[in-house]
Subunit: 357 residues, 2 copies
């Protein structure tokens, strides 16, 4: 099809405190005594949120280790454990940042699909709908709550399971869940949204659908990180909507140079997505002059430290690995630079860029 | 639930020319030889669009008479005809403005629900999911493409079938379909969106979700009707997104005075929704001073005639009917005026307002 027929999430609930409706929301989705499985970012271990999860019957709370971004091996292991223990489950609920939500999506899909999640990294390879799945962000910015992908690091690549079966059946957008996020992490994840917007709005794939969402998300990021002089409740409200709108804007657009380059960092060094994007974007004046200037203002205004020199001392082989991963992200480069992107982004130029980081 | 768990449309495709993907989109939704039923606004009878509908097998093209807005009797009759002729159908596809789309939603629901559609006017009364349904707007502004209602005039009231079964499974947003709309009609329908936005953004129900969508829709309306000096392709693109975003903004908000008053006009006089809203909004300075001033600028700039004097010569009984219908729209009044709206909006005050129109 010329234009993507975009699968939407099934239900959205938005509101301060709406997390407390979760029990009621899940009730009609329970299948007999098959458990709901709650994947909770381990950051919340022992924190009050863990105690507010509406566990019933055989429900299972799993602390998700997101020290690294989700791996296909981690997805496969967890899905297999659940199959061994319960046969099937009523659903998988991801509560956390982008990694936890992506893990939940992938595990829900692998409950009903044979083989390894690595078999499904790509576009429209997933064969069967997964079990019911819900996403509950505790960090705003990734857009994972509305995307049709789940980004996984596999044996040979970092690539999503992109499919119409991937979007959540339900998302619960409760801005109070983000209010105690560590300041640096909140910034890095918020910048994932800001960078999405710049890459999408300046890209060659853009249409009015994506533009409308991208412009709104951008304005909300600017409001939160640039125009306001303090963080308040309303900042949480706004950044949660920015993340949602930023995610929706990807429907008919693509991310660009920062994402393509940071995928290489992440693959080789395990650099997490939010901070990785910031490290890269900080050096992309030649591609996004206005966006990078504004980003630097936001960094300064919010007193954030962006790491430098992370590629120091890497070997030629390591640079080559990053370059290979990055240049594999063809749609991102094409969106950013146009159809002749391969002429513009040579291995030499990309190496020089990695050396700057 | 304190916060509405908002059911989203299933799939969205947006793009200039995406109507031509309809055959491919519908293919997996066909059930054996049960027909797809295309409800086409009769305005397109004999026009090229009618010839582009992908009819297959027993598919049926029905010209929708939308001289008046949809009636429960019209819905019931059409659903019964389809049941008598085919037993069941694969789906109902509405192609037209808000009336045609609402008719399609209601007929799709009544294929699987007993009794009369009048039994389901209200909130969450619909018992069973309908057949597959898709909406394809040829006018932008109503938001019917994303709403969870279908507004019907019944024996005793004008009220929607509001339910989680009501939203479309698929919407096809092709801005080229709106490009030949009559200028006055295009304006009236566009103003439905503009008035939505003003009512929603100034209302007491607003939250950040609805605000984000409402602000974007408002900015797009202003761009199209106020800032640009001519109508072009991009205006169609933008107004289609304004309509979509305006519809989404209603998720956690409500419309207000203009809608409440115009429902009375529509019930008594058959005044259509778009023009009715304009007739009313034109006299609402006391409620929406800035919005009405801007509306008048848009009217002038676009050379539009807004009818006056339409309530001249009505009897006391007729005024009473309109007042009863209007005051029945409690959530609209509460959103506009707050919890003590009944003290503010007396029958006398409302009568005086109707007399001005």
């Amino acid at each position: 099809m010329q234009f993507r027929n975009f699968k939407m999430v099934g239900y959205v609930v938005y509101g301060r405190g709406c997390f407390d409706q979760l029990d009621e929301i899940l009730a009609p989705r329970r299948k007999g005594d098959a458990p709901m499985v709650f994947l909770l970012d381990q950051y919340f271990d022992g924190k009050p949120l863990a105690g507010r999860i509406p566990l019933r019957g055989k429900d299972r709370l799993v602390l998700a280790d997101v020290t690294y971004e989700p791996k296909t091996t981690q997805v496969d292991k967890l899905a297999q454990e659940l199959k061994d223990a319960y046969g099937t489950v009523s659903g998988v609920i991801g509560i956390g940042g982008g990694s936890t939500m992506d893990l939940a999506k992938a595990v829900a899909l692998m409950m009903n699909n044979p083989g390894s999640s690595a078999d499904y990294q790509g576009w429209d390879l997933v064969k069967n709908p997964g079990v019911y799945k819900a996403g509950i962000p505790t960090l705003s910015g990734t857009g994972a709550e509305v995307s049709r992908t789940t980004v996984l690091t596999g044996p040979t690549r970092k690539l999503g399971m992109n499919s119409d079966f991937t979007p959540f059946d339900q998302i619960v957008l409760d801005p109070t869940l983000t209010e105690n996020a560590p300041v640096n992490q909140r910034f890095y994840t918020g910048m994932d949204c800001y960078i999405h917007c710049i890459e999408s709005l300046t890209g060659t794939y853009l249409n009015e659908f994506s533009k409308s969402y991208g412009e709104k998300a951008l304005a909300l990021c600017q409001e939160v990180f640039l125009h306001k002089d303090h963080w308040d409740e309303h900042s949480d409200d706004q950044l949660m909507m920015a993340s949602y709108a930023g995610g929706m804007s990807i429907a008919y657009s693509q991310v660009g140079v920062a994402h393509a380059v940071s995928y290489g960092l992440s693959y080789l060094l395990g650099t997490k997505h939010g901070i990785g994007n910031c490290i890269v974007f900080n050096h992309l004046e030649e591609f996004y002059p206005e966006g990078v200037a504004e980003f630097k203002q936001m960094v300064a205004r919010n007193g954030i430290h962006i790491p430098e020199g992370i590629c120091k001392g890497l070997t030629d082989e390591q640079f080559d690995t990053m370059i290979n991963v990055s240049l594999g992200m063809k749609p991102l480069w094409e969106n950013a630079l146009g159809k002749d992107w391969e002429k513009q982004m040579t291995r030499q130029r990309l190496r020089a860029l990695y050396e700057k980081l």
